[in-house]
């Protein structure tokens, strides 16, 4: 079994030629990173920073101007590499006349699932994405959230080693986003490598092991989530029933040891958590 990185990108550069004069627009600028197998990797950045172009290059949909890409040990996104990769594009659009079940079965056949295994694979993918009941409806009748979920189902139906998700929560409400987050965790538990592009930074923080941030085509930060977010020079202590006297005493003791208290605050839950607590069911179901 190949134990190398799931994806290795080295010196990746992509220029687009625009206009009649062929002016160059550099979409990706000398980007390098590695994604270890079995991890969830978040690729972040503002719109137009080159995330989607990077993903397209990884998948062989766009050719790079310079640089190297290896995917699952293959030097490029060959057919063999893509048969072990699942992809959910940004704002997915599928053939509206197909039912969800037909689409997933169709993608299973295109991805090389054997005829006798197609039905079980389709049902498993639909169950994982909570689309079993809506599977017989045509895609044209789906809501945005359902489109994302059926997109996820078609991406994972062939049990790929690597799953690339480009904005899987775009246009999805917080309940649907949380459900997608749970699906990502479930896939990670199965040992899949997941690449996640998202603007939901809270969710990325929760589900990702590593992140990379791109800006104007360049990679500005890359590393483990804990390493890049944890401020090692500060500590948070959460205390129940803290009286003013106890607070003063604690500050004095800390000062005696050279520490300085910079703030005393009450913990807050996130609006995301509050919303999900109050709105329990999915409207799509």
């Amino acid at each position: 079994m190949n134990t190398g990185p799931a994806i290795a990108v080295k010196g990746l550069t992509k220029d687009f030629r625009i206009g009649l004069r062929g002016l160059k627009l550099r979409a990706v600028d000398n980007v390098s990173f590695e994604i270890p197998r079995g991890q969830v990797f978040g690729l972040l950045g503002p719109n137009g920073c080159g995330k989607s172009t990077t993903l397209k290059i990884i998948l062989g949909l766009v050719s790079p101007t310079a640089g190297e890409v290896s995917i699952l040990g293959f030097p490029f996104a060959t057919t063999a590499a893509r048969s072990r990769t699942g992809f959910l594009p940004e704002a997915p659009y599928f053939h509206k006349f197909l039912t969800g079940r037909e689409l997933v079965a169709y993608c299973a056949r295109l991805s090389g699932v054997k005829p006798e295994s197609v039905n079980p694979a389709v049902e498993e993918a639909l169950a994982l994405t909570a689309m079993t009941e809506a599977g017989d409806r045509t895609i044209g009748t789906y809501s945005k959230g359902m489109l994302q979920r059926i997109g996820l189902a078609q991406a994972i139906v062939h049990d790929p080693e690597l799953v690339i998700l480009d904005e899987p929560t775009a246009g999805v409400d917080p309940v649907g986003s949380a459900a997608i987050g749970q699906m990502i965790k479930a896939m990670k538990a199965k040992g899949k490598t997941i690449v996640l592009c998202s603007h939901l930074l809270g969710q990325v923080e929760q589900v990702c092991d590593r992140i990379a941030i791109m800006d104007r085509g360049k990679l500005v930060l890359e590393g483990r989530v804990d390493d890049v977010l944890t401020r090692r020079d500060q500590t948070i202590i959460t205390v129940e029933n803290l009286t003013p006297e106890a607070r003063r005493a604690a500050e004095e003791v800390l000062a005696q040891h050279g520490a300085r208290v910079t703030s005393f605050t009450h913990p807050r839950r996130s609006l995301d958590d509050l919303f999900r607590e109050l709105v329990t069911g999915s409207r799509d179901a």
């Binding site: 397209k56 998948l59 062989g60 949909l61 766009v62 050719s63 057919t79 063999a80 893509r82 048969s83 990769t85 992809f87 594009p89 704002a91 997915p92 659009y93 599928f94 053939h95 006349f97 197909l98 169709y106 993608c107 056949r109 295109l110 991805s111 090389g112 997109g151 078609q154 690339i164």
Partner: protein, 278 residues
């Protein structure tokens, strides 16, 4: 190889399903069927030709014209629908090569064109056969020779038209694989179809002894190889009403040349499509 054929067959199914659900297809097939059916009631406008010939010409004309429009517009539309709606992004991220994608598209379109052409042909065959029966009885009663009608010849012609439409569809997909817009593809593709219909003129000019300069000669020679002779497929009258007048091997040769052009156009198209950024 088997996996590749499986993927092509699934691409074909999807394209075929998408195509037959389009209103444009339904509209054209109804319009063409109406034209073929109306040929019976318009047979008094036979311009001095035999009645069956008039019905044949009318039917073949409808199949030729609407078949060509369908081949050009549907090939371009189905290709650009995948690009513009970004469904190609999902499909090409799967282990589907660009060649498989293009061949699957072509096969799907060709299958639809087959449904179109064989449906109309069957309709025309029924009309011709029914009218031929009536004319045969009348001719025998009048002591004249009965009219000749070859249903086999009609379906040979149908097969040739299907091959011709296949050449047109492959040509359009080749243009589409390079073009950026649907409109450009339809315009350039239509011009190529017209050039193909007139290609025999270049062949005739080359055969005639004359004082063509080297540049003209070279241009005409190259054009006879690059542009397919679409006129060679239009021998419906002879096949259906005067089977004996068709030269031996003409049908086989036309079909063989059609298949060769399809393969070449798809090969060039897939080479260009590989360079395209999705």
């Amino acid at each position: 190889m088997k996996a590749s054929l499986t993927r092509i067959s699934w691409m074909t199914r999807l394209t075929f399903l998408e195509a037959i659900r389009q209103r444009f297809f339904a509209f054209l097939i109804l319009l063409s069927a109406a034209l073929v059916l109306s040929s019976v009631s318009l047979r008094f406008l036979d311009f001095g030709h035999g009645e069956l010939k008039f019905v044949c010409d009318f039917g073949f004309g409808g199949m030729f014209l609407f078949g060509s429009v369908l081949a050009v517009v549907m090939s371009a539309q189905l290709f650009f629908a995948e690009m513009d709606n970004r469904t190609a992004l999902t499909l090409l991220a799967k282990p589907v090569s660009r060649t498989e994608f293009l061949v699957g598209k072509f096969m799907g379109v060709w299958l639809v064109l087959g449904v179109f052409i064989f449906t109309l042909s069957t309709l025309l065959g029924i009309i011709l056969w029914a009218r031929c029966q009536e004319l045969t009885v009348a001719a025998i009663e009048a002591g004249k020779a009965p009219p000749e009608l070859s249903i086999t010849g009609l379906f040979s012609y149908t097969g040739m038209q299907w091959a011709r439409l296949g050449v047109v569809a492959a040509m359009i997909l080749m243009v589409a694989s390079l073009a950026r817009t649907f409109l450009f593809t339809v315009i350039v593709g239509s011009m190529l179809v017209v050039a193909g219909q007139l290609q025999w003129l270049a062949q005739e000019t080359l055969l005639k002894p004359g004082d063509l300069n080297i540049f003209s000669k070279l241009l005409l020679t190259v054009s006879t190889y690059i542009i397919p002779n679409l006129q060679q497929f239009n021998i419906g009258d002879a096949l259906t009403l005067d089977h004996g007048s068709v030269a031996d091997g003409a049908v086989t040769l036309a079909l063989f040349s059609g298949i060769c052009y399809i393969v070449v156009f798809l090969f060039i198209g897939s080479l260009m499509f590989r360079q395209r950024e999705i």
